[in-house]
Amino acid sequence: MCEFVLQAEHLEKLIQVIRGEGYQMLGPVLRDGAIVYDQITTTQDLPRGWSDSQEKGFYRVEPGNTGAYFGYAVGPTSWKKFLQLPQRQVWRAQKTDDGLDFVQIVEEAPALAFLGIRSCELHAIGIQDRVFVDDQFCNEDYAHRRDRVLMIAVNCTSPAATCFCTSMNTGPEVTANTDLALTEVINDEEHYFLIASESYRGGQILQQLPLTPAAERHLKAAESAVQSAVYKMEQGPRSLDRAGVKDLLYRNYESPAWDLVAERCLSCANCTMACPTCFCSDVQDTTDLSGEHAERWERWDSCFTGDFSYITGGSVRPDTRSRYRQWMTHKLATWHDQFGSSGCVGCGRCITWCPVGIDITEEVQRIQAMETAL
């Protein structure tokens, strides 16, 4: 793989070349006090110079020390909202004189470019691919959208305190498939991106950019930026025993730790909405007043809701204890049996966006500690 240097002032050129190829560009923007993913048309839209501070139940954007374009960690939204839409119409049906017509709603999937995908998020997209595309059944809507995405990943050099991707082996360095991979390097003298293409589409874009070959010092600077992120997480407050967690949870379905977390958990479903891999959905069937037209909509759903496990007579998981246990055990244990990997990428969103500050890494440690104590 050949790496090049793209000067920071030419990031605009990258955006315009990609837009010129017909892609709608999506990337980080500062909105309502948070960095979220939305449409961008120019580098002016990017939250340049902003950073963030994250902890359990805490998120603030704050001015950064540098003028970096990507000097923050992941925010409340993830890319899943563009691939598995929060709501979409699946079909509509109409009563006719002598029949019933079902019409599948096939939306033309837009060609999207995701700018600034972190490694943890690339892994999350890969995990959703295994659920929606590579499994026994294919979710065609997801698959079409996914096919048309141009992925521009960014090596993460600014993890938050809630991040634990090094524990999950999902970052901060981009290792999963992408079209382009960038590393932002900024210091007193220089501001540039190390850029490499990892696909044909990526290569086509590189050809249109004002690049210079990367020298050894560029590579070193980029590597050191990523390594400092690794170091920060390894020294940081959070880690998770990836290898042992599946068996730990399988042994501890009746751990008293579930009662303790249930006392705090509000069953609000924030963690599932913020999680980049949570894929559960519900369908809603509606009809109009005339009773002649009906629609089916698919919407994000959460295993924390009351109706989620409803069968005749009542819910299988009637309380917060069983719902939190389902969510966490699914994410960290049963996911392995279902899709061959963990369902957690260590992005820390569920920790930041939990209104009562429940921390998945702490909960694992609590179960561990209680098992040892018993």
Binding site: F137, F279, D282, S309, R317, R321
Partner: protein, 271 residues
């Protein structure tokens, strides 16, 4: 995945609140509806009301349509209940893994049904009765609440000629000739060769639990017990997450499971 349009050909009330629909595909000109395996289910859509998972309860050899027995309980089943012959509905399916017929080969077959649980077992019974040579014998243990809440009573009488049928109700009436009590009673008393027995169970989860206790106490191996599980099935394709049961998606990994494979999940409450 859009539903196929089906038309109700016949509606039959089994007893108040439980009915059987025979439905036929509107596009039958293009061929028969998809084949199904005993134990599989369809997603039935009542116009505007919604969709629910209902097991296939007709004969797999009947290639003209599907048969579904439905208990009225929620909004969608109430809408389905209002359907009369000639009315239309949507069908997606068949879905899921059914009863492994091959496991019955050469065995003493115990079919253990509780209440509405006879519905998903009926296609299996049809198949087994169509090839009685392949098994050593077939016995049906059927438990229900009352004699008038038993499914397929005419057929039960017919089947009695080809297999042993033990029926038990919680509450009898004057004409009731079967057992009064619970089905585990006669099951416990049944003579069987445990190493050459295979059991297929479908009924309320608690009833299956007690039956499994009875079977394993009689030394029937866990691997010779198959059961059909009920969970909230919405998409039927393993994407919506609702029917998860431990690592299993009941819609695609089940609804029929080998007990040995799911024993550890079966005993976890509120899973």
């Amino acid at each position: 995945m859009t539903p196929e349009v089906f038309r109700v050909e016949q509606r039959r009330e089994e007893f108040p609140g439980t009915f059987t629909l025979r439905i036929r595909g509107e596009r039958a000109k293009n061929g028969s509806p998809a084949e199904f395996q005993p134990g599989q289910f369809n997603m039935l859509y009542a116009f505007g009301a919604g969709e629910i998972a209902i097991s296939l309860s007709g004969s797999p050899r009947d290639r003209d349509g599907y048969v579904h027995t439905i208990r009225t309980h929620g909004f969608v089943s109430q809408a389905l209940e209002r359907l009369q012959a000639g009315d239309l509905l949507g069908v997606r399916g068949p879905f899921g893994c059914g009863w492994p017929l091959s496991a019955a080969k050469g065995k003493e077959v115990l079919i253990i049904a509780g209440g509405l649980g006879l519905a998903p077992l009926r296609p299996l019974i049809y198949n087994l009765l169509g090839d009685t040579q392949s098994v050593r014998n077939i016995r049906l243990f059927y438990g229900a609440r009352r004699p008038d809440e038993m499914l397929y009573r005419d057929e039960l009488a017919q089947w009695a000629g080809s297999m042993e049928i033990v029926q038990s109700v919680d509450h009898g009436d004057a004409d009731w000739a079967g057992h009064i009590g619970v089905i585990t009673g006669p099951l416990a008393g049944a003579e069987l060769d445990p190493q050459n027995t295979v059991a297929f169970l479908c009924g309320p989860e608690v009833m299956m639990r007690f039956c499994i206790q009875t079977l394993t106490a009689k030394a029937v191996p866990e691997s010779a017990i198959y059961l059909s599980m009920e969970r909230n099935m919405k998409c039927a394709t393993g994407h919506c997450g609702h029917c998860q049961w431990g690592p299993n998606f009941v819609c695609k990994d089940g609804p029929v499971f080998n007990f040995a494979g799911v024993q550890s999940w079966f005993n976890i409450r509120a899973l």
